[in-house]
């Protein structure tokens, strides 16, 4: 019941209609992509311990991790049926090609997610812009941009493999520009305009182009401090306990010795979490290193590339539906600047 952007169905429907297809032909596939996206977001939020999504607390914080995992599984499971019902709508041949595109897309997504989780698990921060782009294309490029458009084209009756493949570089450029600007907004926006947490990416230690640039260009000392902060957990169930201990020690109600021993016992249960000052320091580091500007330039570069790629897709004739793709590309370009 939350308001989403509906980006993936929009891309599917616009592509289908721009190619002369009927909206009914693409609706089941568009619904599937939106279901898949929501499943992925719910699981992603559990994995990243994210607190906010679309302006409200994430599902696992309100309903618990077990229910959130199962809701994601349910949405993944339910996404198969519309693709099977599709056969009555677009015919067997098209429905099967759409199924294959979706199967390939989900594989890319989980591989991208695996890549990112592997970096987190191994505390990897020695990553370049190319690593970031590879991860983004796998994690969101295929399911959010490339396959939505391919599915729209397939639903409209496009059978030429060359045409379907030519949507790939456009989708990649759009995806990377989109993700970088998303990462930039995470550091800037007010909750009303954006719906996610402010600076949530820093609290989560997300490998963004921005943060990776700051780490790559920082002094050895700053980098070590940043990595130490980023390796701490976001929050701790024992944070309140630390505060009580501190106060009782200050009031002289427990001895310094006892306080130290208790802190140690507590420390064994949970690493101290990131403090607001730590995250502020990361913000400042990013500012000092000029990483926001570098990321913005990169996003503009990819957005321009997307504009060029779209211009080459001349087999999609001009129409108010093609204009949706053009407007989106222009919007991403504008948002990046």
């Amino acid at each position: 019941m939350r308001q989403g952007k509906g980006l993936r169905p929009t891309l599917s429907i616009a592509t289908c209609r721009a190619l002369g297809g009927d909206v009914q032909a693409v609706l089941p596939s568009a619904a599937t992509l939106e279901l898949f996206h929501n499943a992925f977001l719910v699981h992603d939020d559990v994995e990243d311990e994210s607190l906010m999504r679309r302006g409200e607390p994430t599902l696992h914080t309100t309903h618990g991790v077990p229910i959130a995992i199962n809701v994601g599984d349910a949405m993944l499971s339910l996404s198969l049926q519309p693709l099977l019902d599709n056969m009555a709508v677009v015919g067997l041949g098209r429905a099967l090609r759409i199924l294959r595109a979706v199967a390939g897309m989900t594989k890319e997504s989980v591989e991208g997610q695996a890549l990112e989780l592997d970096w987190i698990r191994n505390g990897r921060w020695d990553l370049g812009a190319d690593d970031y782009v590879t991860m983004v294309v796998k994690k969101t490029g295929w399911y959010s941009f490339i396959v939505p458009m391919q599915v729209g084209a397939l639903a409209a009756g496009v059978v030429d493999d060359g045409r379907l493949r030519s949507l790939v570089p456009f989708g990649i450029a759009l995806a990377v520009a989109f993700q970088i600007t998303d990462d930039l907004l995470n550091l800037k926006a007010t909750p009303d305009a954006y719906g996610k947490e402010i600076g949530g990416d820093l609290w989560e230690g997300k490998r963004t182009l921005i943060l990776l640039h700051a780490l790559r260009t920082a002094s050895e000392e700053d980098r070590a401090r940043a990595v130490a902060i980023l390796s701490r957990p976001r929050a701790s169930s024992t944070a309140g306990m630390h505060a009580v201990l501190e106060r009782m020690a200050a009031d002289g109600r427990i001895s310094p010795d006892a306080a130290r021993e208790l802190e140690q016992a507590l420390g064994a249960a949970a690493k101290p979490p990131k403090a607001i000052e730590d995250v502020q320091w990361l913000f400042d580091l990013i500012g000092r290193q000029g990483s926001l500007e570098v990321a913005r330039d990169t996003a503009v570069l990819y957005a321009s590339r997307a504009r060029e790629q779209l211009a080459e897709l001349d087999w999609i004739p001009p129409s108010r539906h093609r204009a949706v793709l053009e407007d989106l590309t222009a919007y991403v370009h504008e948002r990046a600047r």
Copy 2:
């Protein structure tokens, strides 16, 4: 790389071959079912906070929750491709019917899981044997018994809906008998023979036929005590801290007042977990109420019903492959006694 029973592929292959089908015709579907099962187990273990699986620590305890969730998603995603490749193996018509059976099966599973998680979330213990059976049939009956056999029959070329439907009551009876005996073994077996944790179901507060019977027949006082124990978490990251506090208070290193205040601060962070004595008391309650015997009788009843249902499936001619189904049914019957 862990040793599983391979129950689902076994059912698929035996049914297919018993009906004159080739093993190659059923292999992709059988692999899909095993993938789906493993995906479901990995997510299930996260949701139940299970510690052991197939004699080894669960995936989320060794690799963390985020990776375990993504591994489950990956296995779910990868299970689609073999079903699409199936078209070249068994032809379009059969492949599509298999896809539809799998789509229906996954829906049942997530609904069964949702039912169980809803009971946990709402602290529901006022459940009857019928609730338990409904949950088991949805959660495991379809994907572990009914659909594996249907898929085997479809791969062998069975097109008659009546025959496919007649596998349902057999699968249901087998599933319920199987699950009850599984629950019984969880309370009895040694780790070597079984591979799961001993009494893990009690630590997790799993709604088994056994525990539900004990609660239903216990005195009001015993039931209240049991529900209070079952509502506590399995473990707590602050358990060590409780122990340190207790020792320091006993040694007089902190005042009783300070100890109480710190315990309270700690208590706000985490409910005290179940103690081994609590779980032992639940064991004893189950013994006193004769719940093991009642569950065993119910399992034998369902196993007998499965035997009768299988005898009626006379369109599966006698062979060493049909014998696999008969042996499995006899094994379940034997295991229950």
